[in-house]
Symmetry: C2
Subunit: 250 residues, 2 copies
DNA sequence: AGCGGTCTGTGCGCTCTCGCACTTTCAAAA
DNA sequence: TTTTGAAAGTGCGAGAGCGCACAGACCGCT
């Protein structure tokens, strides 16, 4: 109930944590803590959203669904990002679905509050726009990775991005779900995962993947992961000191 | 020389044409007409740009170049868009290259002028943000199209998008260049192009492709083209009446 | 006319991924 | 303990696309 604990939760999101006191203060009373559960749809393609979500422990996938039912992930957001940029970009809706990929908490802000603060044109606006650019980079990289890299490489990228957002080395995620995210067959993921396991990079059993050798994963994947992360750091790193955590720790 | 003819040129860009008189007037004195030639690089990956370009007759590709030299187009901008959104999004640079794909004119605006008007928060800002969202849609669609669709389908999409920006039905473009854009082999484009030609949709000879049956192309491609165009219309159509031209004409 | 460079056509073996069908393994519920 | 359903393993044929090598066609230039 206390706005103190709500604000504490908010500070776990890197974008909110980067706000100066005045801006954080103006938003503070509007923070709501939301529990997001695995599979929950934050917004559907074409569906108007009425809040922006700033994940703290949750991870959300941006998933495109083709007319024939095929799916492919175009981006992902955890505690370093937000969900619902259509609200301040002006489009209201997007062409993809946002779905919770890892249960957890997000801090929610009503559209009105976000728009009002955005229009003040301060650091809040600046951060949101820079984050939008970093998301564009992520989507771009997904596009070229889809075109030019093997399933093995893409699996590495995907695992690394998810690992960054998590507190633990265990990802609760079936191979079937990963296949939907990567837009490939489940069997393809099975084979790729086994190859990674044989090389001692990960281990997995029935819906739980454990990252064993992060540096090895980074070395095995394509350049895409590093490009996306470096660009995020370049765009937002000066505002978010120490956001690199796990990546530089190992 | 006259600012009148410069302004006339500027009106050929849909985004500039949509500006109300006051905002257009403030920018008007800063307009510069630039001739863009085939292959010219507007900005390199990581290179800071100092002007925003609003194409009128030119077409510009956003091209990603991998470390191993592989390339893939992630988006495209003609008279319905702009080049250089990093200037107002705050990142200054992007991770891709912008290269002229079809020679022509663009109206140029110095970074300072764009930023100043953007910060006033009027329709100019709104249009630029909405355009940015539409570009995100285009990039997203490229990502899923790369993953899930055949070269034939992607070639249709690519031809349609380019055809929209052109005044004629002839595209000056070798199969080799198209292959670079789609991120596939030149031979793959040769085969796909021949299949389209055999069906009477296009004809081509040594670097010139002619669109013969636009509706047929639309029917042969994947859904991606329509999704991108519909989203552009949704985001910007109310500001840019009659922007659909060729698409609805046929 | 002839030359040279660019653009396009073609063949071949190979790899990756797909689509489908089926089996095995495992964990939680009954 | 048994059952049951989800998750993961396996096999096989088909097809798309790749890499490479080379041949022909066309254009502009001298």
């Amino acid at each position: 109930m206390s706005s103190i604990s709500t604000s504490n939760e908010a500070m776990k999101n890197h974008l909110l944590a980067a706000l100066p006191g005045a801006e954080f203060g103006r938003l503070e009373s509007n923070f709501e803590v939301a529990k997001l559960t695995l599979g929950q749809v934050i917004y559907e393609a074409g569906e108007k959203l009425n809040s922006v979500y700033f994940p703290t422990t949750a991870i959300v996938s941006l998933l495109y669904i083709m007319q024939n039912g095929g799916t492919a992930e175009i981006g992902i957001a955890g505690n370093n990002g937000l969900i619902g940029l259509a609200i301040f970009m002006g489009g209201d809706t997007m062409t993809h679905r946002a779905v919770v990929q890892s249960s957890g908490i997000a801090v929610r802000l009503k559209a009105r509050a976000v728009q009002d603060e955005f229009e003040r044109g301060g650091l809040f606006q600046k951060l949101l726009l820079r984050y939008t650019q970093s998301l564009m980079t992520q989507i771009s990289q997904t596009a070229v990775c889809n075109r030019l890299h093997s399933i093995d490489q893409q699996l590495c990228r995907w695992l690394l991005i998810n690992h960054d957002q998590l507190q633990s080395d265990k990802l609760i995620m079936t191979q079937d779900l990963i296949a939907n995210m990567l837009g490939v067959r489940r069997e393809g993921v099975t084979l790729a995962a086994r190859r990674l396991q044989e090389r001692g990079l990960i281990s997995y059993v029935r819906g739980t993947i454990t990252v064993l050798d992060r540096k090895g994963l980074e070395a095995s994947g394509c350049e895409c992961y590093q490009v996306v992360m470096d660009e995020y750091d370049r765009l937002l790193g000066t505002y978010i000191p120490n956001n690199t955590g796990k990546r530089k720790a190992s």
